[in-house]
């Protein structure tokens, strides 16, 4: 390997996407911009079909982009695909392994692609995840397939971990274990993690940044704490709503017994009457009301 490729030299973002476009027949990923620094975790949230998987596939050059730039470790993801992938660990929602092979056979096929493959680490994870190396991949449950994926992703000293819906199909106990594993990884401040999800899960606790994508566009990409401080969930009776007030809402849900909606915090003072109840939204609330409003 060329010594100028030494990862420690590059101080910029570990992942940088600029002006990324990808057009499909019935869906377009539009002008995606995001940036992730080493030492941090980004949660990539949005409804199903909003473009999360497409974006992650584009990062890994599994899809051809129409326009834009993707840099990983400061390098072009297409030109230096092989070197970049060597340092990325990825977990996909869908199974991308050969079902007729056993865990061990599949591993033997994958491991040679990584220059830093660590068999001891892999065996440790198999044990920790209760996976039998002789078992055929076809016979694994969805959760077990994810665990296998994760064991592969974590066994070659990857600096950037990309996970597409890693918790779907996993029970709360394993989700909690996964969270511990990610926290353990992040004790190393040179690593970074990007994971996508369409459901609220405990995983978001670890996220430093949240990027919210809806209908192929980034709605915001910001510090999680700031996002949660910026919005307010307001509930009240229908009687106080009029059309100008309704326009203040990012998203609004009306029922015969009242309304509930999301507003930006800067409008807070106007709303602090005894007529409404205001509370901090969850990321789920934010996701739902943005999707509703747009």
């Amino acid at each position: 390997m060329d010594s100028s490729y030494c990862s420690q030299d590059y101080q910029g973002p570990i992942l940088e996407i600029r002006g990324l476009w990808k057009k499909f027949n019935n869906f377009t990923l539009q002008d995606i911009n995001l940036q992730l620094e080493r030492g941090f975790v980004m949660g990539f949230i949005g409804p199903n079909g909003s473009g999360k998987t497409t974006t992650i596939k584009l990062i890994l050059n599994l899809l051809r982009k129409d326009r834009g730039e993707i840099r990983v470790f400061g390098r072009d993801n297409v030109i230096e695909e092989k070197e970049i992938k060597n340092r990325i660990g990825f977990v996909f929602d869908e199974n991308h392994y050969y079902g007729i092979l056993t865990i061990n056979e599949m591993k033997n096929l994958i491991a040679p692609f990584y220059s830093n493959w660590n068999e001891k680490t892999f065996q440790k994870y198999l044990k920790e995840f209760d996976l039998n190396p002789q078992q055929k991949i076809d016979s694994l449950s969805k959760g077990m397939k994810t665990k296998f994926s994760l064991a592969i992703a974590l066994s070659h000293q990857a600096e950037l971990i990309l996970m597409d819906e890693p918790t779907s199909g996993l029970d709360p106990v394993f989700r909690s274990e996964l969270l511990d594993i990610l926290y353990y990884l992040m004790q190393d401040e040179k690593k970074a993690i990007l994971f996508s999800t369409h459901i609220t899960s405990d995983l978001e606790k670890i996220a430093d940044y949240i990027t919210f994508i809806n209908k192929g566009r980034i709605v915001f990409s910001a510090e999680k704490d700031r996002v949660l401080e910026e919005y307010l969930l307001v509930k009240g009776s229908l009687g106080i709503l009029d059309s100008s007030l309704e326009r203040e809402f990012i998203g609004l849900r009306k029922t015969p017994v009242g309304f509930e909606g999301l507003i930006a915090e800067r409008n807070r003072l106007r709303w602090l009457q005894d007529k409404v109840v205001a509370q901090r939204p969850t990321l789920d609330d934010i996701m739902v009301y943005f999707a509703k409003g747009q």
Partner: protein, 125 residues
């Protein structure tokens, strides 16, 4: 060092950390020079983000309660009576400011606020 975080509290998590660490220092429960958990370790233990713990530590450092040494971690700063008294006053100021803002919105005069304050203060005492 115990830090207990409530996820349902209206108080932001970083503020909860700040308040608890300060309280321990003010109460003398932690000694000068005592090491605090590293930012990444605390994030892991509390299951919160690194940015949140970082923000709390930075604020504690700015206020003079802790000191951070690059590559070595954070420590409880030498005990400082003035800083502690100042921080108590600042805490009260912030709360009063909220009361003032609210009073102005609700058209309650300064005199009325002072009356209420005096009444409540003496009543509680």
């Amino acid at each position: 060092m115990d830090i207990i975080i409530s996820n349902t509290s209206d108080e932001p998590i970083y503020q909860q950390i700040i308040d608890q660490v300060k309280k321990m220092i003010i109460a003398g429960e932690v000694a000068e020079g005592e090491a605090l958990p590293s930012i990444r370790q605390l994030a892991k233990d509390l299951r919160i983000s690194v940015i949140t713990t970082k923000r709390a530590y930075e604020e504690l450092e700015r206020e003079g309660f802790i000191r951070s040494v690059q590559g070595k971690g954070s420590y409880v700063a030498p005990y400082n009576r003035e800083i502690i008294r100042e921080s108590r006053l600042k805490m009260i100021e912030e709360k009063l400011r909220a009361v003032i803002d609210e009073s102005k919105t609700l058209n309650i005069s300064l005199e009325e606020v002072i009356d209420i304050l005096r009444y409540l203060y003496q009543e509680k005492a």
